[in-house]
């Protein structure tokens, strides 16, 4: 069975080309997933096949480009076969993979993508099964960071889910509601509108010190409520970072949020094809410094000005001052000057961008603003 046509074949060709350049003597490629998923990391199996693995899964690409999936648990084989009809799907782990390598005559000549996420036990099992010749994580991620037109359309659609869910967030952010209940309401809206897995952080306080997972704290009048809204579809995540005030926002809070928004807008404009990530951070920090908060542009007041979004690629990585990577047209990541400010506490303000020659384009079509929700309305 071969992936002769279609998106899978395109990805296989791109992978073979990249690995051929990085590891010319490799005779086959194995993309490996532990089945543990992260918002900020690539999943090699997902990228190649668009199957979000349930458990440890390998996608083996032979010399002629045919794809064989090794799936665990065995009961997930039908789902994998439905999802990846152009691939042969088998149940099995490293032993089955090793047998495949020997039969194909590629044992000892396998390039592996995904080793960076392996635990020691899995790494030992794969090494024994394949005698892995070379790890090609970096070369492959340079391929997977490129989103095609269909990917971008899907990402825009997912971002619309997030935009629509902002309404649920505002509606549910009321005095008397616990953070986890608010998170559940937003999550439910996203799932009902078609989202797959949801990444969601919800925090509230009169003066937030940080962003964190939802607790059982009950919202009160005057609270500042923070939400990172990250729906997904078919394994592609986007993220919006939003701040809502329960009641009327004090003028200083409005000014501070406007400052972060200005930083975001400036940063997005700087996200041009070829720009160095650290330079984007400098642009963003300059706006905040000019606003009088230069001392707060470092941990623990903030973590990063953004980050890559899975499951395609972790690139461009964390948007931090020491990141010297260059942005590439088509990179998709979230840019967020989320941070603590002394008068207003921790505030959120962020958009998912796609890098173009003219700067970063927000997939939501704009930049969010501070929202005040009425009490009892």
């Amino acid at each position: 069975m071969t992936a002769a046509e279609g998106p899978l074949a395109c990805r296989v060709r791109a992978l073979l080309e990249a690995v051929g350049a990085a590891a010319p003597s490799a005779a086959a490629i194995v993309c490996y997933s532990s089945g543990r998923h992260s918002l900020t990391e690539a999943d090699p199996v997902w990228w190649l096949t668009r199957l979000r693995p349930l458990g440890p899964t390998a996608a083996a690409v032979g010399p002629d480009g045919e794809v064989t999936l090794f799936v665990e648990p065995a009961y997930d084989v039908p789902r994998a076969a439905d999802r990846v009809p152009a691939a042969e799907v088998r149940a099995g782990g490293p032993d089955a993979l090793g047998e495949w390598a020997r039969r194909r005559g590629v044992f000892g000549r396998v390039a592996l993508w995904g080793r960076h996420k392996l635990d020691g036990r899995s790494a030992a099992a794969l090494d024994a099964a394949l005698d892995v010749q070379v790890v090609v994580d970096e070369a492959c991620e340079q391929v997977s960071r490129r989103r095609d037109g269909a990917d971008v359309a899907r990402l825009e659609a997912v971002t619309r889910l997030a935009t629509e869910a902002e309404g649920a967030f505002r509606a549910a952010a009321r005095p008397g509601v616990a953070e986890y209940e608010l998170a559940a309401a937003v999550r439910a809206q996203l799932r009902r509108s078609g989202s797959g897995d949801v990444f969601l952080l919800v925090s509230s306080s009169q003066h937030n010190l940080a962003l964190h997972p939802p607790t059982d704290r009950v919202l009160a009048e005057g609270d500042v409520v923070l939400c990172e809204l990250s729906p997904s579809a078919d394994g592609m995540y986007t993220q919006l970072c939003r701040t809502v005030v329960v009641g009327e926002a004090p003028p200083q809070l409005r000014d501070d949020h406007a400052l972060l928004t200005a930083s975001l807008v400036a940063g997005a404009a700087a996200c041009r094809d070829g720009a160095v990530v650290g330079e984007v951070v400098a642009v963003m920090d300059r706006v905040i410094t000019d606003g009088g908060y230069g001392d707060f542009c470092r941990p623990p007041h903030m973590r990063a000005r953004g980050h890559g979004l899975g499951l395609a690629s972790s690139l461009p990585g964390d948007v931090t001052a020491d990141n010297e990577r260059r942005l590439v047209a088509g990179d998709v990541f979230v840019l967020h000057p989320n941070q603590y400010l002394p008068s207003s506490g921790y505030l959120l303000c962020g958009e998912t961008l796609i890098v173009t020659g003219d700067g970063g384009r927000p997939l939501s079509g704009g930049f969010g603003s501070l929202v005040e929700v009425g009490i009892g309305s």
């Binding site: 900020t40 789902r79 020691g120 995540y237 941990p299």
Partner: protein, 397 residues
């Protein structure tokens, strides 16, 4: 984007792949756990921390360990949650316990930004922020005068990326590293009455949620919407993590990746959830009365109930499951607690049942189109299985 409207029925004919026996349960890992994240309130007060730390110190003395290091990742955090009452939001977390000198927690990738939250939630008073990792572990040990000797370590092989494992090995080369994964798992397995009461509450939540899903299914006839109701209900009631598997045409089960509105004549759902750091599971099937599917479900209930009756101290859980299996009927016996354990699991010490074990018996009947799923939860009592409510405080009775 709206939920897709598919023309085909959920209960369409079997797909090209034949049904496969289910011998272990794997669910889809989320990118982050989105539910209520604080574990410790009135249900599990701070003295639980003292009790558990005493157990670790006793273990250290018995094994002549100068210290114990526990590493766990955000996806499978039980070893850290049990001692710290905090699960890392992302990345790995590490606890260093030096007997007589207390414990230090290094809590995940959230780093300094999450520190106020972490301090609010965790039992461990000493929290070390970035930079952390193997180098910091060595520094913490050195700072407490532990420069060499036997070091108990858990999670090194299966909880951290191999590059992190290798750094641990390099940084801690002056110590004799002794794996204590199994010993710590054995401590976690012994559930206190408090812990069983959380499991009892969660078990009731799971039953209620599945009943809510059944109501939706009876009204709308759409299995995915019914499953989504189960998920929503559990999150709304304070579960941190919810995992679903839904019966699928062809005798298989699948995760609920995205909701669609295909109609179906049968709703079979497996739900696992975590509440306050404890996991339980339930499964249920809704079928039309008088149908063949109803007969299959009835057969399955009988098989599961018979298996439950075999749960007694000393029983081999795998033998119980094996004896209960029939043609196209899978039975699994699973341990409930700080994690869900497919039994037997020798590395965790679960090779025979002990009094107080909380166990789930899960059955899958695959002879029809969509499999039927059923489960029971029981406590292993001295004379045999007992209902969870009989051994918990504040149970539903």
């Amino acid at each position: 984007m709206t939920a897709p409207r598919a023309a085909t029925e959920w209960n369409a004919p079997a797909t090209r792949t034949p049904s496969v026996p289910i011998t272990a349960v794997t669910t889809m890992t989320p990118a982050i756990r989105t539910g209520r994240s604080c574990f410790d309130r009135s249900r599990l007060p701070r003295d639980e921390y003292a009790r558990r730390m005493r157990q670790v110190e006793t273990l250290a003395r018995a094994e002549d360990l100068a210290a114990v290091v526990v590493v766990a990742n955000a996806a499978t955090p039980a070893p850290v949650v049990h001692l710290a009452n905090l699960a890392p939001t992302a990345g790995d977390a590490t606890i260093v316990v030096v007997p007589g000198a207390g414990a230090v927690l290094m809590a995940g990738r959230g780093g300094q930004r999450e520190e106020p939250y972490q301090r609010d939630v965790t039992w461990i008073p000493t929290l070390l922020q970035r930079p952390f990792g193997p180098e910091s572990v060595r520094q913490v040990l050195a700072g407490r005068g532990v420069l060499s000797g036997r070091l108990g370590i858990a999670g090194l092989e299966d909880q951290v990326a191999v590059r992190v494992r290798d750094r641990f090995v390099e940084e801690l080369r002056d110590y004799e590293m002794v794996p204590v994964d199994r010993a710590l798992a054995a401590l976690r397995r012994c559930l206190s009455v408090r812990e069983r009461s959380v499991l009892g509450e969660l078990d009731a939540m799971l039953q209620d949620a599945l009943e809510e899903g059944a109501v939706v299914f009876r009204e709308a006839g759409v299995p995915a919407l019914a499953a989504l109701m189960v998920e929503d209900e559990l999150y709304a009631r304070g579960c941190r993590d919810v995992r679903l598997l839904v019966g699928w045409p062809g005798g298989s089960v699948r995760p609920l990746e995205a909701v669609d509105d295909r109609p179906g004549t049968q709703f079979a759902c497996y739900a696992a959830a975590e509440l306050l750091g404890y996991w339980a599971e339930r499964a249920a099937t809704v079928v039309g009365a008088g149908t063949r599917a109803a007969e299959q479900r009835c057969r399955l209930v009988g098989v599961v109930d018979d298996a439950v009756m075999q749960l007694r101290p000393g029983a081999d859980p795998e033998a119980v499951a094996r004896a209960a299996r029939e043609d196209e009927v899978d039975v699994l016996v699973r341990g409930l607690g700080t994690e869900l354990v497919d039994l037997p699991r020798p590395e965790s010490g679960w090779t025979e049942l002990r009094p107080g074990d909380v166990v789930s018996v899960l059955g899958v009947e695959r002879s029809g189109g969509v499999p039927a799923l059923e489960s029971r939860t029981a406590v292993v009592g001295a004379g045999g299985p007992a209902h969870l409510d009989e051994l918990v405080i504040g149970g539903r009775g």
